[in-house]
């Protein structure tokens, strides 16, 4: 329970055995009474076992489906088990669970709340093509969603029951689809989106999924995905 609402924390994880125990432990410590579902997406390390030992419920996918595939599984679980709020948190410890009540507060008047860096809190810097991609995505998506969005690819999100039901039925597994396309889709259907500034921390262990060398490719793909999301219905 967060603010009296049945809450599920969904953590997509790929080879995060170094940090997942601390993340699950911290979430359960800071937010007593929430349920934690770790979706292990075909990890080759001990992520699933470590998460289960830390007290999380673990759903183990037989092979890698990507963040989008893992998240749809999470939203289906939330829908089928009657959760009122579902919150996505990264398995690498970058998201501070102490912000969760703030996100849930805003769900009173919104349907999807995003925890965003670059919104005044914390010190998280990005430069080069990756930065340009973020600026482009923010500008276009803010317009589509009719609200200021500065960190559109954030994996820290809270969804209410209506959005849980929508995401359980439809959630893209494509690259960047889980962030960019879901935002366009959600906004187009008239749901209210809001962002909350959060400080992001350094990942605790393991390696991030993107390297600086891929930044330029990322910019191109972000542009393609965005264009596609905008022409799609």
């Amino acid at each position: 329970m967060v603010n009296g609402k049945r809450t599920l924390i969904i953590i997509p994880a790929l080879n995060e055995s170094g940090s997942i125990a601390d993340v699950v432990g911290e979430v359960r410590g800071e937010l007593p009474g929430v349920d934690v579902l770790v979706v292990d997406d075909g990890s080759t390390d001990r992520t699933a076992a470590v998460a289960a030992a830390a007290g999380a419920l673990v759903a183990k996918l037989p092979y890698n489906l990507g963040v989008g595939g893992a998240m749809r599984l999470g939203y289906r679980y939330a829908r089928d088990n009657g959760y009122e709020v579902a919150i996505q948190i990264d398995a690498d410890g970058q998201h501070d669970p102490r912000y969760v009540p703030k996100l849930v507060d805003l769900l009173d008047d919104n349907d999807l709340v995003i925890g965003a860096r670059f919104a005044g809190e914390g010190d998280y810097n990005v430069r080069g093509p990756r930065r340009w991609a973020m600026v482009m995505l923010s500008a276009v998506l803010s317009r589509v969603a009719r609200t200021k969005l500065t960190d559109t690819t954030s994996g820290f999100r809270a969804a209410n029951r209506r959005v849980i039901e929508m995401f359980a039925a439809w959630y893209p597994a494509e690259y960047l689809g889980d962030t960019v396309e879901t935002l366009v889709h959600t906004a187009r259907r008239g749901y209210r989106i809001r962002q909350v500034p959060v400080a992001m921390r350094k990942r605790m262990a393991g390696t991030p999924s993107h390297s600086p060398a891929k930044a330029m490719v990322y910019l191109g793909r972000a542009f393609a995905v965005l264009t596609l999301a905008l022409i799609r219905r």
């Binding site: 037989p62 092979y63 494509e174 690259y175 689809g177 393609a224 995905v225 596609l228 022409i231 799609r232 219905r233």
Partner: protein, 123 residues
């Protein structure tokens, strides 16, 4: 002139079909992008088939049109190979799924048998 009209219209029709399939989410992004890229090359060529004449001469090919035909066939072969590769990956995934399913069923049957055993010894 007539030929240009036929090839050009075919190109545009293909473009329309692909965009519409993408819009309806019938085509995944990775395939859609591939075909869009192809059409962006093919449409100018279908309108101006002589575009590649210079390149053809450089490579020793008699005419730009033959060069386009040759490249087209090479490209289609590559697409076929790619699709075979995708199908192989899919077969591997369904195999894993079937195994997981069989293991789950075996586990459930074993649990049920153990429970029935308990009930019969109790009763």
């Amino acid at each position: 002139m007539k030929l240009t009209l036929v090839t050009g219209l075919t190109g545009l029709l293909l473009l329309g079909t692909i965009v519409e399939l993408l819009r309806r989410r019938q085509l995944r992004e990775k395939y859609g992008m591939l075909w869009l890229a192809v059409l962006i090359i093919v449409i100018p060529l279908s309108l101006f088939p002589r575009l590649l004449d210079n390149v053809a001469e450089l490579l020793g090919v008699a005419s730009g049109v033959s060069l386009v035909l040759f490249l087209g066939i090479v490209f289609l072969l590559l697409v076929c190979v790619h699709l075979s590769w995708e199908v192989s990956a899919l077969e591997e995934e369904t195999r894993t799924l079937a195994e997981d399913f069989a293991l789950l069923r075996a586990q459930i049957d074993a649990d049920r048998a153990a429970r029935d055993e308990l009930v019969s010894t109790d009763g």
